[in-house]
């Protein structure tokens, strides 16, 4: 693909086909992480006139495609910034979706000579990187912030206004679960090991696989329902809940003093492990602040480390008791 902003005006359509679906699937499972890019530049969708609105987005395929697929039957301009293939929100954090890049895109595409309007409509989630009054000062275009989600664009374009609902970030079950496939890819070798363990190691194989899947799927799914505000605590609670059926099984059907040590070890290790996974999920959510996460790290890291060490001691005790009991 050519580098930099296209000088000529490009065209696109609202329809997505199998090529896009394939690309989105790959992006969702974390394949070719940096390859989901769109050529930066000015695009025409439909048959826009010189007075049609100009919408701004990132050059990540999921961002660009979400935008254009919401514009069926509309004629508008789309200005795609060079965010290095990163979505609007994350790019705004890194300032690649930012004041400077926006001004650069306006100039590189010759926007002022291609459209008559002097308003740019940005996604609201681009606002952490963009200073509207600075853009106005630097290139003469006025920045308007549209809705958070592209699906609300038709309503926004019709009324010129956003409802409170359209301005609020959500974190729905679907939003949370769509993150899971990337986690599977990140833990792929661990997952493979766990699946093998589940097949070949009785009891502990399935136990550890259940905890892995619990961390990847149940944690995000149950996030709002797990008690507490801190994600570490939510993880610890989930760990305790998930270990309990295994522990009950052991207490009922296994015999010997070693069982008690084994159960204690499982509770401590799994709670610490899922607590740590919970802590690491903070960056995936739509609501944690840096100050809050810093406080959470300092509150939980030490207790979780102590739990892990005590769990290790319990494992050794259990093994010693088991050997002695034989």
């Amino acid at each position: 693909m050519e580098e930099g902003y296209a000088k000529e005006t490009l065209t696109t359509v609202p329809q997505l086909g199998s090529k896009e679906r394939n690309d989105h699937l790959k992006a969702r499972i974390g394949l070719d992480r940096m390859g989901h890019r769109v050529r930066p530049g000015l695009y025409a969708i439909g048959a826009p006139e010189r007075t049609s609105p100009v919408l701004v987005t990132a050059n990540y395929t999921l961002s660009f495609d979400a935008l254009r697929s919401s514009l069926t039957g509309r004629s508008v301009w789309i200005l795609v910034l060079d965010t290095k293939g990163i979505n609007v929100w994350c790019a705004a954090g890194k300032r690649t979706f930012g004041t400077e890049e926006l001004v650069k895109a306006v100039q590189a595409t010759g926007l002022a000579s291609k459209v008559e309007g002097r308003t740019l409509i940005l996604p609201q989630l681009g606002a952490p990187g963009v200073s509207a009054h600075a853009v106005k000062k630097d290139c003469g275009f006025k920045v308007e912030y549209g809705p958070v989600r592209a699906e609300d664009l038709p309503a926004y374009l019709d009324t010129g206004e956003c409802t409170e609902e359209m301005r609020t970030v959500r974190f729905t079950l679907k939003d949370r679960l769509v993150l899971a496939p990337v986690e599977i890819r990140n833990y792929r070798w661990w997952m493979l090991l766990m699946i093998l363990a589940a097949v070949f190691v009785p009891f502990y194989g399935p136990l550890v696989l259940a905890m892995t899947l619990g961390g990847i799927f149940l944690f995000p799914a149950l996030l709002p329902y797990l008690p507490g505000k801190d994600l570490s605590l939510k993880g610890i609670v989930l760990g305790v809940l998930l270990v309990t059926p295994f522990a009950l099984y052991q207490l009922l059907f296994w015999h010997g003093t070693f069982v008690f040590a084994a159960v204690v070890a499982e509770y401590l290790l799994i709670a610490a492990w899922l607590g740590y996974l919970g802590l690491n999920f903070t960056g995936s959510t739509t609501f944690t602040s840096r100050t809050g996460v810093r406080r959470e790290i300092f509150t939980y890291i030490l207790p979780m480390a102590v739990m892990a060490i005590l769990g290790g001691i319990a494992v050794v005790s259990s093994l010693v008791l088991y050997a002695g009991w034989l």
Partner: protein, 103 residues
């Protein structure tokens, strides 16, 4: 947004949950913060906006960036433990979000 290993300082005791500070005296009631905040931390008011849900602030920095009157201050940054822990362990090299991470 900086992640930075020096961030791993213990938070001060008794401090608010976040670093958001609003100076109502400077507010010109332009309403930009109302538009950009993803968690509806501000609400419209008669002569100036009102800070109504400070605890919901995630320190994204959008309000500060778009306030032409400099009435809002927030120490913006990424609320991501994975990035902070990596930055603390690796020093300088850890300051970027990883390849495998947020896109």
């Amino acid at each position: 947004m900086e992640i930075g290993m020096l961030d791993l300082q213990p938070p001060e005791k008794g401090k608010a949950l976040n670093t958001l500070v609003f100076h109502p005296g400077r507010c010109i009631n332009c309403g930009m913060c109302l538009k950009v905040c993803p968690h509806r931390v501000f609400a419209p008011g008669e002569r100036r906006v009102r800070l109504v849900k400070a605890e919901a602030c995630m320190e994204c920095g959008a309000c500060q960036m778009n306030c032409p009157a400099e009435a809002i201050k927030v120490d913006s940054g990424v609320g991501c433990a994975a990035a902070m822990i990596r930055a603390a362990l690796k020093g300088k090299d850890g300051e970027e979000c990883g390849e495998e991470c947020c896109r």
